[in-house]
């Protein structure tokens, strides 16, 4: 981006100082809500029974280098959790589980309880457009590295047709040993990326609020993961407070 292009190669300390002279620094603390979900709801998912809020804190620092009166470039480092816990009704949902050389494939109709989380270090790199001193619009990619993650849950209160809809019908109950538990944490992609869109509103010189949308464009699972028919993407919105420290 143009702002970084003007960074001097050989200007020494003074040039570097000049470069950072007008760099703005922001601290952020927010809360995220969203889902690790297929792009476009498949018709097999019928109804959301529960959406349980998760400890999705996000905090970090952003730096904006103005490139012109209105435009600038943002880079930052965030530490955040993107988690969801949902309970949904599904119909004829295809799953294939492989474990230690054995696989179990089937079509499930019933209830599904899923819990996903990912604690990540995220680096956003965004173009910034300032409408005014108060309002900023931000847009650009982000890259995340997962420090811990999980995806587990259970299918329950329904039935599986083994292999396909004409296979043996097996009921699943609600107790731990009567339901289909799954845990796919080993298949989660550790490096992810996506696009972010956000807006900052500073109601005071140093204090503001912000809203971001981070749309994952790399699948939540490794491409070798075939259990679910749909690719899941982490899509989370964050709202929070911002503090300008520089």
């Amino acid at each position: 981006m143009s702002a970084w292009a003007i960074m001097p190669n050989d200007g020494g300390c003074q040039n570097l100082k000049n470069f950072f002279r007008n760099v703005e620094g922001y601290g952020r603390l927010g809360y995220s809500i969203g889902g690790t979900a297929p792009m476009g709801m498949p018709s097999e998912i019928r109804k959301l029974n529960k959406f349980i809020l998760q400890p999705n804190v996000a905090f970090g620092a952003d730096f904006i280098k103005p490139a012109s009166e209105r435009w600038g470039v943002l880079a930052g480092i965030h530490f955040e959790n993107k988690a969801m816990h949902i309970d949904a009704d599904v119909k004829s949902y295809h799953m294939e589980v492989t474990q230690d050389g054995q696989s179990m494939e089937g079509v499930f109709t019933g209830k599904n309880d899923s819990h996903a989380f990912q604690w990540t270090f995220t680096i956003p790199i965004q173009a910034v457009f300032k409408f005014s001193d108060k309002w900023k619009l931000k847009f650009g990619p982000y890259f995340s590295y997962l420090t811990s993650c999980g995806f587990d849950g259970f299918a329950y209160d329904g039935y599986i047709r083994v292999n396909d809809p004409t296979g043996a019908k097996v009921l699943l109950g609600t107790d731990e040993k009567e339901r289909g538990n799954y845990d796919f944490k080993d298949d989660v992609r550790k490096v992810q990326w996506g696009m972010g869109l956000g807006v900052d509103y500073f109601f005071a010189r140093r204090f503001g609020i912000y809203a971001d949308l981070n749309w994952g464009l790399s699948g939540f699972f490794k491409s070798s993961f075939k259990t679910l028919d749909q690719t899941l993407y982490p899509i989370y919105g964050t709202i929070g407070i911002a503090y300008r420290f520089k």
């Binding site: 474990q99 047709r161 396909d164 809809p165 004409t166 009567e178 289909g180 869109l197 807006v199």
Partner: protein, 388 residues
């Protein structure tokens, strides 16, 4: 110059957030299943066609594709009109309730799912019951094949009185298949013994059900074979209900004999797969005769949790102490112990069920036993009372 006012920007941001976090549910997909769940027939003169009313209504398991009405040998089936309960939205050809000539053999029905993508073929037949003419019935286990759906595990057939093959032997192999679909046929709990006492026999080995089986709290699967049906439906929730013991039987059994070998393995584990070195596994061979209906004529089936304890039991024959045989065939020859008198009329009208059960772990139904315990069985002979 301002392109947007603040409210517009906030609105755009909120719409973007809302799009991401709310879900747009699509129309419900059409049903993909295509089962016959029940089959029944209404006849004006029940006594002329059937032995009892329960034979006119058949519950069809999801794993079955043969539906057999057992009828009197002189029943008229030239215009027999069975009716079917099928999956909601599915269609059946020929139509439910249409009359066909079943005297020429089975009639094929095809059920197509509501979404049109799946179909199942069912063979429906009227078996005008032939009776065993001899008082001795041999089970030599020479009639077996790989299951028709997946060609993974063995199924056995009994020889019916008219020489045709029946489907009265059941195993839990199908249940093992769910969590171990990549296993070879002789890695299943019940498989063919190539060198039996005479020809082929049956071999039963208690198996570890693998990581997925453990997930479901069913760490082991004992090899088993029994007269009856294995019903997958409740297999995970109530595994003892999966074994529906017994088939209607019209003779009075007296003795059960045959040959077996047994070798207990170690360590013995409980349903949580915790080892109990002090316990030694044993096999199980028994047979039960019971009344298959209540006072009001409603059908009764005995399951894994009551096949040896139900008040409906009339007679039991059980081999005591199926223990280590050191690689030798051991002959068993046991008498049925009758707890109640047999009613000949009820017997003749298919009012009693008989089961014969083999298992490589005597507590296998409770998922207790030792992985590797092996039972071999061959040349089983059921001796019944001579007809007058």
């Amino acid at each position: 110059m301002k392109f947007f006012n603040h409210n517009t920007i906030v609105a755009v941001a909120l719409v973007a957030l809302a799009t991401a976090t709310t879900s747009c549910f699509k129309d419900e997909p059409l049903n993909a299943e295509c089962d016959i769940e029940k089959a029944w027939v209404h006849v004006d003169d029940l006594e002329a066609s059937f032995y009892n009313a329960n034979d006119t209504l058949l519950n069809v398991l999801s794993t079955e594709d043969k539906i057999v009405f057992t009828m009197r040998d002189d029943a008229d089936v030239t215009a027999f009109a069975p009716q079917f309960k099928i999956t909601a939205g599915a269609t059946i050809t020929p139509t439910s309730g249409s009359a066909h000539d079943f005297s020429k053999g089975p009639v094929t029905y095809i059920v197509t799912s509501q979404d049109g993508k799946w179909s199942r073929k069912y063979s429906v037949s009227c078996n005008r019951m032939a009776r065993y003419t001899t008082s001795v019935i041999d089970f030599d286990f020479e009639h077996f094949e790989l299951d028709k759906d997946y060609h993974k595990f063995y199924v056995w057939h009994n020889v019916l009185p008219d020489g045709s093959l029946g489907n009265d032997w059941a195993t839990g192999n199908y249940g093992f298949y769910i969590a171990n679909s990549n296993s070879a046929a002789n890695e299943y709990p019940t498989f063919v013994l190539e060198n039996g006492y005479d020809g082929h026999g049956v071999q039963f080995v208690t198996r570890d059900t693998g990581p997925m089986g453990h997930t479901f709290g069913k760490p082991i699967a004992a090899g088993n074979l029994f007269l009856g049906k294995f019903n997958m439906l409740a297999g995970l929730m109530q595994p003892l209900k999966a074994t529906e013991f017994g088939i209607p039987f019209t003779q009075k059994p007296i003795r059960l004999s045959g040959y077996y070998q047994y070798s207990p393995s170690a360590p013995f584990t409980d349903k949580n797969f915790v080892e109990h070195p002090e316990r030694i596994d044993a096999g199980d061979i028994y047979s039960v005769l019971y009344i298959n209906h209540d006072r009001n004529g409603n059908p009764i089936v005995l399951y894994g949790d009551n096949v040896l304890s139900s008040d409906n039991i009339v007679a039991v024959a059980r081999v005591k102490n199926v223990n280590e045989t050191n690689g030798q065939w051991v002959k068993f020859d046991i008498e049925y112990e009758y707890k109640k008198d047999i009613n000949p009329d009820i017997l003749a009208n298919r009012g009693y069920n008989l089961t014969i059960v083999f298992s490589s772990s005597i507590e296998g139904a409770s998922f207790e036993g030792a992985v590797g315990s092996t039972l071999k069985v061959d040349m089983v002979k059921l001796t019944c009372e001579e007809k007058e």
